[in-house]
């Protein structure tokens, strides 16, 4: 037996409660992957694991800013929520060191559109 309308509402409510406060989204569509999103994603996941952070790193679709791929959106408490574009492996490390740990924005890669 499939779910009913009521189940849908319950599932939605339950899903809403499980959203972590801090998260990073990596644009993971064909264009993003073509530009290197896969490498960036694994760097971020490894770093979060190594530092034991309570930070959700997520693969998402494409925001649309294709010329700035790979795009990474960072939402961490205490720092403004921003998009980083043209993220390389090095920039991914910087995002972890500067943005996440030191609460400083990373130079030259923000796309605030």
């Amino acid at each position: 037996m499939g779910i009913t309308r009521q189940d849908l509402d319950k599932l939605k409510e339950a899903a809403g409660k499980r959203v972590p406060k801090d998260w990073i989204r990596v644009g993971y569509s064909t264009c993003g992957v073509a530009a290197g999103a896969d490498v960036v994603y694994s760097v971020l996941v490894e770093e979060v694991k190594a530092r034991g952070l309570n930070l959700d790193v997520k693969k998402c679709g494409c925001v649309g800013l294709c010329s700035a791929e790979p795009l990474v959106e960072v939402n961490v408490e205490g720092v403004p929520h921003v998009f980083y574009g043209k993220v390389t492996k090095d920039v991914a490390h910087k995002i972890m060191d500067e943005h996440v740990s030191q609460k400083k924005l990373v130079e030259n890669h923000i796309y605030e559109l």
Binding site: G2, G61, I110, E112
Partner: protein, 577 residues
Amino acid sequence: MKRILIQDTNGNLRKELRDFHVSLTSQLRDRNLAEAAQVVIVADIGVYQKGLVAKILPEGFVYGNLEAKHIPAIIEQTIQKGEKIAGLALEKKNKQMRLVLRNCGVIDPESFEDYLRCDGYQGLARALEMGPEKVIEEMKKAGLRGRGGAGFPTWLKWNLTRAVPGAVKFIICNGDEGDPGAYMDRSVLEGDPHAVIEGMMIGGLAVGATQGIFYIRAEYPLAVQRIQKAIDTCYAKGLLGKNILGSSFNFEIEIRLGAGAFVCGEETALIASVEGLRGYPRPRPPFPSVKGLWGHPTVINNVETLANISYIFLHGGEAFGKIGMEGSTGTKVFALTGKVRNSGLVEVPMGISLREIVFDIGGGVLNNKKIRAIQTGGPSGGVIPEQFFDTPVGYESLQKLGSIMGSGGMIVLDENDCMVDISKFYLGFCVDESCGKCAPCRIGGTQMLAILTRIAAGKGEEDDLKKLDEIASAMQKASLCGLGQTAPNPVVSTLKYFAEEYRAHVIDKKCPSGKCSSLVAYSINKEKCTACGMCARACPATAITGSRTDKYTIDKAKCISCGQCFEVCKFGAVVRQ
């Protein structure tokens, strides 16, 4: 902590940017505010042609045309007191409106939970309560028109299929995005697969179909994979199959792959392809709504259309109908590419002007070149010259200009792009993709391409232009399907707006933009040459020789007229004729 974001100027105003940055940081330090405000240079703030631009967070104030003299005020008023400086502030309006792309880049497309959190399948639940007639009524209120190109009202299409009796009906999602230069369907399938599935289920309910088929380009493996995963999840959760959400509605979905044929964008050809045959279009009537897949009534909707539908049933048809403009409601996603600064997908309400899309959202032309035209509608569309950039974007308004909305390709052409060359490119595409079934398209296309090739090679004759016109009009009238009927559009519209340029090719044997290499010759003006050697290094054919003392010359026999030397010369010494 405050953050002062300064927009990088990509090489322009380099000195101003550096000076401003240095004096801002030092003044902050002098006032012991270095810890209270972080100064960051950022890639883009999205405000252009306003000199130095900065944004202050968390307030979000945007200041433009900045100079060093403004720094003390910024520090005292904005950084220390959080006040906006009216004289500097720019109003930054977000001209995009994300309905179709509402979840793209926001949710994990492989997570069912994420989609539910964004009110997933609530629209379907509403539609099930309403029943088919009311669903179609709701669509009528919304006024949604097909986003695949032709702009046929979706409610009417559904109503036609619904009216045909039959126990077996199909709904097909056309995801065979063929326009070279448009990729919004791929992005939606990859970024928000459940939204498309939900739209398809609502459509199935409305027309009385129990079977849905996704027809997706094989060149989009990730899209296929994500849709398949979403379908599997729906089956596992009981959202597909029998008695969906406790109702009497039964629905099944499967995927069929396209195999690279532009003509399969045509509904009857697409149906033939799903049937496992060559994608030949069939004469209409009978229309697919009466006799479609395996002879059963079939409705075909494009990916973007279906993604709109799940939105409409979540927020209501009336609310949707208020977005956009009369006759063209809602939004449209465009793939803004070509010679534009920010190329990518943009979603805008209908009625916005082309100028706003290209300049305010797209940031204008790449490398500060001059814009010549905007091409919309891909190989079935046309070019729009600058005098019409303020036209509001809608189905009819673009058609009046000799172009079409199409699936949403929007290509910016700059001063280096030749109109003859671009028509030749599009027509070449259609000739390649013509299925060959009907003569007007098969023969007409080939002949037009031969004429254009001749013109581009400098061998055009005066009555060639008249011939192009005649063949184009025959193709438009007599071709069997949309591909042949629209294939001449790029040629017709360039002939209309850029007749001078064609005449320059035919009569003067010159290509004004320098693209058609057989019509261009390059030479070096020794008086202007500084003997820097840039041109010689750039030349891929080693046609340029010389030295610091003798200056440089181009060997005409070796020159392939690629124009690299012309591009790199900073002193205007390379002459194009």
